[in-house]
């Protein structure tokens, strides 16, 4: 019923069935992992000794007030009951209430996630735009100066503490040279567009407010570079080695011998084959971005999930931390799934297991 057109051909039907089974299996797996993440976070929250009452109530809270609060938040219940309550909420899309902000966590995540998403996407674009061409360049000029330069930069990019890079770039490009705006998402005098996606850049385009779009883009540049530097380095290295491997293979050598131009060779043949390992790396990058966002958002006063998580952690707001880890686990799993599907689509040799 899902695929009426192919239904007549038994061969295709079998194939499609396999794809669907595979997809369902993988989706089930995503759900399992996300559930496991909540369970693990919950367990950690129980094991570590933090008591959030005082960070929620403040130093003036009296003992009976604290007791009342703990009762109200269900913190006096046995752990298993607490998890049951949490899990029941989870099923209906309720992640509980933040102990710090007192707001539904779903609401908090809705407010803060688009900021991180916007930053992460921009940084991945940055990483691809710089990392892949750099890798190609390095492979083409193997062991000559462009290669050495790219390799050096890639090595440095992989070892630099990003918070220091952030501080340096801010000092240089903003404070000394004044080329780019400082921390924050938008000039305070500009009115942010009505939130549709929550991503200011996209929303401003939807509202055709180009002034806001340009300003938001300018604000994005520095944090995106900082967040993307490590990934650009990794991509450059991956692209380089993947290309070199492909270029060393017989069919490429043959093509070269037949007089096919290098650039044609790279873009027509080699890059397409090198795309698979690059894709894999890219999937890993997206998953790791959230951790990088913690540091980047702190320095750039960026209202995203990373900063929200930092505040949640330092005020022992475990429901909020669970919300963030759940979101991150979901994002990571879905990205991995997406990468695997693309991988399978790109390479027919991969079988669905």
């Amino acid at each position: 019923m899902l695929y009426p057109l192919e239904a007549r051909n038994p061969e295709v039907t079998r194939e499609v069935n396999i794809v669907w089974t595979y997809l369902l299996k993988r989706l089930g797996f995503v759900i399992f992992v996300v559930w496991g993440v909540t369970l693990a976070t919950f367990f950690i929250a129980q094991v570590v000794p933090g008591d959030p009452a005082l960070s929620a109530l403040g130093d003036n809270a009296r003992e009976e007030q604290i007791l009342e609060w703990r009762e109200l938040k269900g913190l006096n219940e046995p752990v298993i009951v607490q998890y049951g309550i949490y899990f029941r909420g989870l099923l209906s899309g309720d992640l509980g209430t933040s102990l710090r902000t007192g707001r539904p966590i779903v609401q908090d995540l809705k407010d803060f996630f688009p900021g991180t998403l916007e930053l992460a996407l921009t940084s991945v674009i940055f990483a691809i735009v710089f990392g892949v061409p750099a890798g190609i360049l390095a492979a083409l000029y193997k062991d000559r100066w462009p290669d050495l330069l790219v390799r050096l930069l890639a090595l440095l990019g992989g070892a630099t503490p990003i918070y220091w890079l952030a501080i340096l770039l801010l000092e240089l490009l903003n404070n000394r040279l004044g080329w780019l705006p400082g921390p924050g998402r938008l000039d305070a005098y500009l009115i942010p567009p009505r939130a549709v996606t929550g991503m200011v850049g996209l929303d401003s385009l939807l509202a055709r407010d180009f002034e806001v779009f340009v300003d938001s883009f300018r604000h994005l540049i520095l944090p995106a570079i900082v967040l993307g530097a490590f990934n650009a380095a990794l991509l450059a290295r991956m692209t380089r080695s993947a290309l070199l491997e492909v270029l060393g293979q017989d069919y490429v050598r043959t093509a070269k011998a037949k007089g096919v131009r290098s650039s044609t060779l790279i873009f027509r043949h080699a890059l397409r084959n090198a795309a698979l390992p690059i894709l894999t790396v890219l999937g890993g990058l997206l998953g790791g971005l959230l951790s990088g966002a913690v540091l980047t958002e702190t320095i750039f006063s960026w209202p995203g999930i990373g900063r929200y998580a930092t505040q949640a952690a330092t005020s022992l707001d475990f429901p909020a931390i669970m919300g963030v880890t759940l979101l991150a686990g979901l994002a990571t799993s879905l990205i991995n799934l997406g990468v695997d599907l693309l991988y399978a689509a790109a390479d027919p040799r991969i079988s669905y297991g």
Binding site: L54, T101, L137, Y189, S301, P303, Y308, S315, L316
Partner: protein
């Protein structure tokens, strides 16, 4: 290699980028952007908010019956109430009567009446919020104590166990904000007195109303056209910038007009720059060292506590770490409060400290756990720096303080369980009266600071209670002198300093005044 489309589009973008800067100019004349670490903001509800930023905002959204003007915290001025009087009603009660100003309106257009006052006070008590204790425990009033005999008269019955001066003083605080009872009742859900709604909306008669609050980003306040207090600027934006270095950058590039949290070292550089002024706001906050004086504790002997006071290099902290933006203080009633005792008998003296330790039977010093939290200490000094400085001072007299850094909540938990040996903390009185420090710091029974440090002193407790209820100013001052001196010799703590909050302001901004409670009247701000 050919130029890729990606590179091309980057070029196009970079030309676009240069256009973005010039715009939004006209908004800059009528809008003011105030940058700071506003991350403590969790609600706009005057009955709920207790944090610094909450106070800063609600004070401009809501009017109180009485208020302080300028930086003077000793003389109450009329606000929503034009006059008030306190009369004795029998042996057990005071009756405080307020006359309300006629013709006042909330931002909704509803008139301000005595019913709103009754609603606001009863609501603040019934909600049992973080600040309810001001009404219930300090002023000893409860639901029903406030009545509205006519639309412009409010009567509050205050038991004689409480001080009416303290009651009037605490009305200037967030919790004294009068909310629009008609508007709020429209938004009540699950018997919450409109708390959920007031968290992110405003319903007051103050000079501003809340336009929007983007969590973690900004609070936008617009002038309230219905208010008697007309604002010179049409919009105030509180822009959340957590990092001091980021605030500095934003200030220098003109993205913000005021910066709240520049460090003393940044201020030092700023002072030489004539684009900015530094407003030095007084504060009633005291940064202190708490020493557990309980039986069997390392600080049980008063001489050991004295030794710590002689050991700490207060000058180094004030001049070096705070860059001069703090005042040395050694007693529990600081500058700015009635009965302030600004005596400074302790001067850094390692020999004297060692001598006292010898006398106390600890010639070789001792080891203690030193609790600090990971936030910022008073005067924007990073707590780790201050703690490292104190640790090094104490080491000179043989006291080995092992720093243990915790998140605020965990630090407080240990402290409140009387389990802290040595702790770095700050205290601000809840209302500008010496009793706001004296009771928590001297009365063991109040279960506050004296209790947490296991310092039980019957004489001090008695003096505290006596001073709180004394109505004759001369006698009261004498009692506080006696109490502060007792604390100075025998107390549980080493008071370190009182911060001066430096707010860095672009020179075109005028009218910034901030009192020691941290209140700033935004309606008085303007731009040249």
């Amino acid at each position: 290699m050919r130029v890729s489309p990606a590179v091309l589009s980057l070029f196009t973008l970079s030309t676009l980028l240069s256009l973005g800067v010039a715009s939004a100019q006209n908004a800059r004349q009528t809008t003011l952007v105030y940058g700071g670490d506003w991350s403590d903001l969790i609600t706009m509800d005057p009955a709920q908010s207790y944090e610094f930023t909450g106070g800063l905002v609600t004070d401009n959204l809501y009017e109180t019956l009485v208020k302080f003007e300028g930086t003077n915290l000793s003389k109450l001025k009329p606000s929503l109430a034009t006059s008030w009087k306190v009369v004795s009603a029998g042996t057990a009660e005071w009756k405080v009567t307020f006359k309300l100003r006629a013709g006042q309106k909330f931002s909704s257009g509803n008139p301000v009446t005595s019913k709103d006052v009754v609603f606001s006070f009863d609501r603040a008590i019934a909600l049992k919020t973080n600040s309810s204790f001001l009404f219930t425990d300090v002023a000893n009033i409860k639901v029903g104590s406030t009545r509205a005999p006519d639309p412009l008269t409010v009567e509050v019955t205050v038991p004689k166990t409480a001080s009416t001066a303290a009651f009037l003083n605490l009305l200037t605080f967030n919790i004294g904000g009068i909310v629009d009872s008609v508007e709020v009742q429209k938004h009540v859900a699950n018997n919450d007195y409109g708390t959920a709604w007031l968290k992110t909306n405003s319903a007051g008669s103050g000079p501003f109303k809340l336009n929007r609050w983007d969590q973690g980003q900004q609070v936008v306040l617009d002038a309230n056209p219905n208010s008697r207090l007309k604002s010179k600027l049409s919009r105030i934006i509180l822009r959340e910038i957590k990092e001091a270095s980021a605030q500095k950058i934003a200030l220098e590039s003109g993205e913000i007009d005021l910066a709240e949290n520049l460090t003393p070292d940044m201020i030092k550089v700023k002072l030489t720059d004539n684009k900015f002024n530094v407003y030095k706001a007084d504060s009633l906050r005291i940064q202190y060292l708490g020493m557990n004086s309980g039986e069997g504790q390392p600080f049980a002997d008063a001489r050991v506590r004295q030794a710590v006071r002689w050991a700490v290099d207060q000058d180094g902290i004030v001049d070096g770490l705070a860059g001069g933006l703090a005042k040395k203080i050694q007693t529990i009633v600081p500058y700015g409060l009635f009965g302030a005792n600004t005596a400074l008998p302790y001067k850094t003296n390692v020999e004297k400290a060692k001598e006292l330790l010898r006398a106390a039977g600890k010639p070789n010093g001792f080891e203690v756990e030193f609790l600090i939290n990971n936030g910022s200490c008073a005067a924007n000094i990073p707590c780790p720096d201050l703690a490292a400085k104190i640790q090094s001072d104490l080491a000179k007299v043989g006291i080995k303080a092992n720093i243990k850094q915790l998140v605020q909540a965990e630090q407080l938990k240990t402290y409140r369980a009387q389990n802290a040996q040595l702790i770095l903390q700050a205290w601000s009185p809840d209302f500008p009266d010496p009793d706001g420090n004296a009771t928590p710091m001297s009365d063991f029974g109040a279960k506050s600071l004296a209790w947490r440090n296991k310092w039980e002193n019957v004489g001090a407790a008695k003096l505290t209670q006596q001073a709180a209820l004394e109505t004759n100013p001369t006698k009261r001052a004498a009692l506080y002198k006696q109490l502060t001196e007792l604390q100075l010799n025998d107390g549980w703590g080493a008071m370190l300093y009182q911060p001066i909050n430096p707010i860095t302001i672009a020179t075109n901004v005028v009218g910034y005044v901030r009192n020691a409670q941290g209140q700033v009247r935004f309606e008085k701000l303007s731009k040249k």
